[in-house]
């Protein structure tokens, strides 16, 4: 499989290969020990060149990795937007505090994702859309706010794992305990969506091999799982009559 992002990799490798050969020739007088690449358990070991050693270290990244990061930024932006609503509309202080934490966490992860994309010279926004207006589709647009939308809002999220425009509109319209319930249910759905995005990416060939993205995925999974757990327990504590089983991600 070929990493989708090329960087003109092939030609560069040739140049580097020559440079490395030069280095080896220089250091051959110092009798640098050979480089071994062991085989599978029980199989023979072979010797490789320094250029081959470097080649084995190079992970690169795939278009899927880039798409995932761009998508996840939009996804996280919706969570931040939901928490912004919580400030005015929520009622329970514990839910508000939890929301603050979630927003902080999501914002921090957005910075990591933006920096990952920027340092690989990839656009932060997905092709054909920008993150800010995209998040706006989720429910902050004023027609939905005022209930003056000419057409019924879509029940289909713009991306899997996010709340649909209609769901966001219901959140905007709600307040008090009803808002808390919709917020917790919505955020659980939202977080489950992130977990599913991680699963989908990991199932792709060659995806998530960059150690930084791989560690990032681990921390996303750990954080979202623990937040889902807390939200579920909060949901059952605060609203014993409400339906507490997590909604399945809409996709």
């Amino acid at each position: 499989m070929v990493p989708a992002i090329e960087w003109g990799v092939e030609s560069l490798h040739c140049v580097i290969g020559l440079m490395i050969s030069g280095l080896i020739a220089t250091s051959a007088t110092q009798q640098t020990p050979p480089i071994f690449q062991p085989g599978a358990p029980g199989a023979a070991t072979r010797m490789i060149t320094a250029a081959e050693a470097l080649e084995l270290s190079r992970t690169g990244f795939t278009e899927g990795d880039v798409r995932f990061m761009q998508h996840m930024i939009v996804h996280h932006a919706q969570a931040v937007e939901m928490v912004a609503l919580l400030k005015d509309k929520g009622s329970d202080p514990t839910v508000k505090r939890l929301g603050e934490r979630i927003a902080q966490g999501q914002e921090a992860e957005m910075l990591i994702m933006e920096s990952w994309l920027a340092s690989r010279e990839q656009p932060v926004a997905m092709a054909g859309m920008d993150a800010a207006s995209h998040a706006g589709h989720g429910g902050m647009d004023h027609s939905a706010h005022a209930g003056m939308s000419a057409q019924p809002l879509s029940e289909t999220p713009i991306m899997s794992g996010m709340l649909s425009p209609a769901q966001m509109a219901r959140l905007v319209a709600a307040s008090g305990a009803e808002f808390d319930r919709l917020f917790l249910e919505g955020m659980i759905q939202h977080h489950l969506g992130a977990l599913e995005m991680v699963d989908t990416l990991q199932a792709e060939p060659d995806a998530a091999e960059d150690p930084i993205i791989s560690d990032f995925l681990s921390s996303v999974v750990a954080d979202q799982n623990s937040e889902i757990l807390r939200m579920q327990s909060l949901l059952s504590d605060l609203l014993p009559d409400a339906q507490t089983s997590p909604p399945t991600p809409a996709n």
Binding site: T32, R101, I112, S119, A222
Partner: protein, 610 residues
């Protein structure tokens, strides 16, 4: 290293304390010094050394350095700075900067083993300057390694890891050729290292720790600490994920205990996955910290569903687990069945990362890898007790947090910096630890008084680049038989030697340099024992002389006797009377000084009877 969620909190001026469970000493004040403003460069960065001498600096060997993974060469221009120039594209690494990162180290039989995300290197250090004797390439990261006789163990955690040390075709979420776990190499022949076993685990292996069997020398256990995601059941049948309430069999919330029969290491296998985080009263598997902040100004502490690293002290039957959201103490008298006896939580700890016992086994230095190691966390504006060491004591087998210690000099935003791996420096009478702080350099801390840690020596380089964070710095800084070895992520291996100062005397250094262990795996601690020598006696004497209000006349007598001893003559009667005087003084003294006087009395007592 773990890339974790960062919380952009303002300084925690008011931590929410948890009473006795919390380290509650005064917050350290970080003061800029020469380390704070060093010039940048990969090979020519400015250096600042305090009470340490850099003896050797060995660049990565061929095949273990990739300029394209750090940065591409910056086009230079001699143009006037003010002259208008077309905007230059920012130069970026083309491959992950961690692709060839040097990681953890071990020492065996005069050889230094340096782990790497792409394999490992072995150096002969018997002649001082490290001489490369073997390079092995086997991708999978992070390359945390340990050595036992002819066997080398290596942790593999990445999805790209393959059974055959290659990378071809390691795709899909289920792949029979994938390897995540612990590899075992036979290194008896440096001209033909061979992989002889590969123990697959559910979350791979981030770090591992050797634990000898208490009775059977032919059995070695490995405690495997794994931090990444759980593999699919279809790939490895023993694995499934989820929270334990929903899935009691979940691979989260445990460590792996691997049994290695040393006469048939190819039969190594997991023999236990103990639930060491379970609630002591209810048995609930997820019994420790569930993640998040305990208060508005507190750290966002990770959920305790794994250990990042475990350090064992077999002679004490104890293990210290640095387990994401908690520090824990384990009874390992039955190594196959470790059981938790105490745990610690602290609102200022984000991610409990590693642990080091003192020589007596009654203190533990825990580190907090806030930000995961790839972030600048030692800037002047960062809280002084975040990303620091938490120094704890063990009293009646219970952990108590006493104080924090952070690298005392702020670093720039271009330097990834946070508390990382270290070992004890065996100075009799004191608890000293040398420790890596990534691009913060290395720092030696005295934690003899667990409430008042202070710095004794340091070494640092400037950032790799001045204006841009390029991940680098010391992964580990370890004392191995008289020298400090630093594994620099990007720059190779450094060897440093202690230099005498008011804070550490020549005799104390000589005593430390005389304590030799043939095999050192830092996460498997063995007790340092000191012979009766003039240097060891001199070390205690120098320490006593530093105490305010010490008996100057007695100290002078001690130094005089040590001088005679050095010269080859022992006055038995004078030694006997000195031993008596020192015992009397010890009875009046307290704390570490009483112990030093007692130890010195013991030495002179034995000398008089010899």
């Amino acid at each position: 290293m773990i890339v974790r969620t960062l919380l952009l909190s303002s300084v925690a001026a008011m931590s929410v304390m948890l009473g006795a469970a919390s380290a509650s000493a005064q917050t350290q004040i970080l003061v800029p010094d020469a380390r704070s403003t060093l010039s940048a460069g990969l090979h020519d960065a400015g250096q600042a050394a305090s009470n340490l001498t850099l003896e050797y600096s060995v660049a990565p060997p061929p095949g273990f350095f990739d300029p394209e993974a750090l940065f591409a060469p910056t086009p230079r221009s001699d143009d006037d700075e003010d002259a208008p120039r077309p905007p230059q594209p920012e130069v970026k690494p083309k491959f992950t900067p961690l692709a060839l990162a040097n990681s953890d180290m071990a020492m065996s039989d005069g050889r230094l083993f340096v782990g790497n995300f792409n394999g490992f290197n072995a150096y002969d250090v018997t002649q001082g300057e490290p001489k490369l004797v073997m390079s092995v390439v086997c991708p999978g990261g992070q390359g945390d390694l340990s050595v036992h006789g002819d066997l080398l163990f290596m942790s593999v955690e990445q999805n790209r890891g393959r059974l055959d040390c290659g990378v071809a075709g390691a795709e899909g979420d289920v792949n029979a050729e994938r390897f995540r776990g612990i590899r075992i190499f036979d290194i008896s022949d440096l001209n033909n290292p061979r992989q002889i076993a590969a123990v697959q685990t559910c979350r791979g292996s981030h770090t591992h720790t050797q634990v000898p069997d208490s009775t059977d020398p032919k059995v070695l256990y490995l405690y495997n600490s794994a931090t990444s995601g759980v593999r699919k059941t279809d790939e490895l049948g023993i694995c499934s994920e989820g929270e334990p309430d929903a899935n009691p069999e979940t691979a989260l919330y445990s460590i792996d205990v691997i049994k290695v029969p040393l006469d048939r290491p190819q039969d190594a296998a997991i023999v236990n996955r103990p639930r060491i985080f379970a609630d002591a009263a209810t048995g609930r598997v997820a019994g420790l910290w569930q993640g998040g902040r305990i208060g508005v100004a507190a750290q966002n502490t990770a959920q305790t569903n794994h250990c990042h690293d475990i350090t064992v002290y077999p002679e004490r039957g104890l293990a210290a687990g640095a387990c994401s959201g908690n520090g824990i103490l384990l009874d390992i008298s039955d190594p196959q069945n470790p059981t938790r006896i105490s745990e610690l939580f602290d609102p200022d700890m984000a991610y409990w990362h590693s642990a080091t016992f003192d020589n007596a086994g009654d203190k533990i230095v825990f580190t907090d890898e806030w930000g995961g190691g790839t972030q600048a966390r030692c800037r002047a504006e960062d809280p002084a007790n975040w990303g620091a060491n938490l120094i704890a004591t063990i009293e009646n087998r219970q952990l108590r947090g006493k104080s924090f210690y952070k690298l005392p000099a702020p670093q720039t935003a271009a330097e990834n910096c946070v508390a990382h791996n270290g070992t004890l420096i065996p100075v009799p009478g004191r608890d000293l630890m040398v420790q890596a702080w990534y691009q913060g350099g290395m720092s030696i801390v005295d934690f003899t008084d667990p409430s008042k840690p202070f710095e004794v020596a340091s070494f640092d380089r400037g950032p790799i680049e001045a204006d841009r964070m390029v991940v680098g710095g010391y992964w580990s800084a370890y004392w191995f038989n008289g020298r400090i070895y630093g594994s620099e992520i990007a720059r190779g291996v450094d060897v440093l030697r202690l230099a005498p100062s008011d804070l550490l005397s020549a005799a104390e250094i000589a005593a430390a340099e005389s304590a030799i262990h043939d095999e050192i795996n830092p996460q498997t601690q063995t007790e340092y024992k000191f012979a009766d020598t003039p240097d060891v006696a001199g070390a205690y004497a120098d320490q006593i002389a530093r105490a305010t209000g010490h008996d100057a006349a007695l100290t002078a007598r001690v130094q005089a006797e040590i001088a005679k001893w050095r010269a080859g003559t022992v006055d038995r009667r004078a030694s006997q009377s000195l031993a008596t005087a020192l015992t009397t003084a010890a009875d009046k003294a307290t704390g570490a000084d009483a112990n030093r006087l007692k130890a010195l009395a013991g030495i002179f007592g034995r000398l008089s009877a010899a």
